[in-house]
Symmetry: C2
Subunit: 279 residues, 2 copies
């Protein structure tokens, strides 16, 4: 399968995407008393599900930014040295990447670059959390329940079902006897990791090098292209992903653009790739 | 000042209320990036304010249920032995108290009874927490901000302003450089602790004993009666608080009631108290 719904790290640097991360989404609801309580009449003596939930979430990462769930890193491999070197050579500025959204200091795993974290490392993020009174002003309520939406990005051979089970086991082990916990699943799909050295990729590298005068980057995507995973799972069909989108294309947004250079050289790139594959 | 807006522990047990807890309410907003981010594109590398906030909240209590803020227990005194003995003798069932709201195991400070916790111990409760996407379904958003409403019940001579400062210092010390934090105050009033052995209380004890044939309990209220605190602060006027409300009166609720026995014996009780004070 050939896919051109991917990007390149800069306007002069062609790329082949070989890694798409997987995703696990879980919602957790922790319930205590059978109704919201008056914190002056019950506070401290009655379990507060917001306290229980925050303790659980706080324990999901250790001080070094790693995820603490047992077995979470099973199936995660280090990047090949060649890929690491390629990524290190990219004109990617962590300061600029973070600066565009008002930040300045990389968070997450202390010993990993930003690019490695968003392309090739598994992550765990709280996407939403809610408990008690959240409107304007103040109510001294002791909430009856607390909930969180938590997602994991997966890489390599991480098993989404095992990660769901590890999360649920961990939460259950932390919940006091007076709390009930409920989970709902919002997806559990594995990462897609294509072989770096397959014949089609070798051919695409040669073709892109010929067109752009530059060795293409073997890059990764932080998100996913669901159809690529489906084809892999249902038909065991690998994808060759070569696209020419740029970070500033504003994809799916107002005022979207596509560079003429990407259009013209992209067309020629695919002619070269098809010719190579046919040969 | 004489106040009868208080209760009694049971229909046959008169009480004098000598302790009203104080209250500190603080809202905390932690902000990271300047907009919500895509967790696949920024996850882990960009700071997640929900992670920051949950770590802070989780750290507010230690394993024994005590509040960890430096100096929090300054001004908190142990109950006099006489009061402890009185409370221990009350026909108060922790199982029943918690069972009415669907719970079974006391939470909070491990070495304190439920009654002591709700009447005479300072507490810290999350009243509300919110971050990211909290609607139906799932969004893999990396939230730009996270907020919590947190309240403290105060006892004895705890200083509300110092506790506000201790909380704010603690939060600021935990917030990474890429996060901004904002506080808003929703009240900071001290506890009211009347002397247990003043002349008016001695007179009221005698009067209640005469009317009910039983030594009155010197009880506490988990909540507060703001006007009593105002009179104390502005006029330095103590209150003698003797009321006859029962737990099942459904105060401020539909179908509220007041026992005829409370009305009749309460009237006579106050006649006896006034007579004693006049004497």
């Amino acid at each position: 399968m050939m896919v051109c719904d991917t990007g390149m790290p800069g306007p002069d640097t062609p790329a082949i995407t070989t890694m798409l991360r997987g995703l696990v989404g879980q919602e957790i609801v922790i319930r205590g008393a059978d109704r919201d309580l008056h914190s002056g009449m019950f506070g401290s003596a009655a379990v507060n599900p917001a306290h229980v939930l925050t303790k659980i979430i706080a324990a999901l990462h250790d001080e070094s930014g790693r995820v603490t769930l047992p077995g979470f890193y099973d199936g995660v491999e280090e990047l090949p040295a060649e890929i690491k070197a390629q990524w290190a050579s990219l004109p990617f500025s962590e300061q600029e990447f973070l600066g565009k959204v008002g930040l300045s200091v990389p968070a997450g795993e202390k010993d990993r670059s930003v690019l490695e974290q968003i392309w090739a490392r598994p992550t765990c993020e709280v996407n939403g959390i809610s408990s008690g009174y959240t409107g304007q002003g103040f109510k001294t309520v002791l909430p009856a329940e607390a909930s969180a939406k938590i997602s994991f990005r997966l890489v390599g051979r991480q098993n989404p079902d095992k990660i769901v089970a590890a999360l649920q086991d961990f939460v259950r082990s932390q919940v006091p006897v007076d709390c009930k916990v409920e989970f709902s699943s919002h997806g559990a799909s594995p990462a897609l990791q294509l072989p770096f050295n397959s014949e089609p990729i070798r051919i695409a590298r040669t073709a892109l090098n010929a067109e752009w005068g530059k060795e293409p980057i073997l890059m990764a995507m932080g998100g996913s292209i669901p159809i690529v995973g489906n084809f892999k799972r249902e038909l065991n069909m690998d994808a060759l992903m070569v696209g020419f989108a740029l970070d500033d294309d504003r994809i799916h947004s107002p005022n979207e653009k596509y560079e003429l250079k990407s259009f013209q050289k992209g067309t020629r790139s695919w002619v070269r790739i098809l010719d190579g594959l046919a040969g």
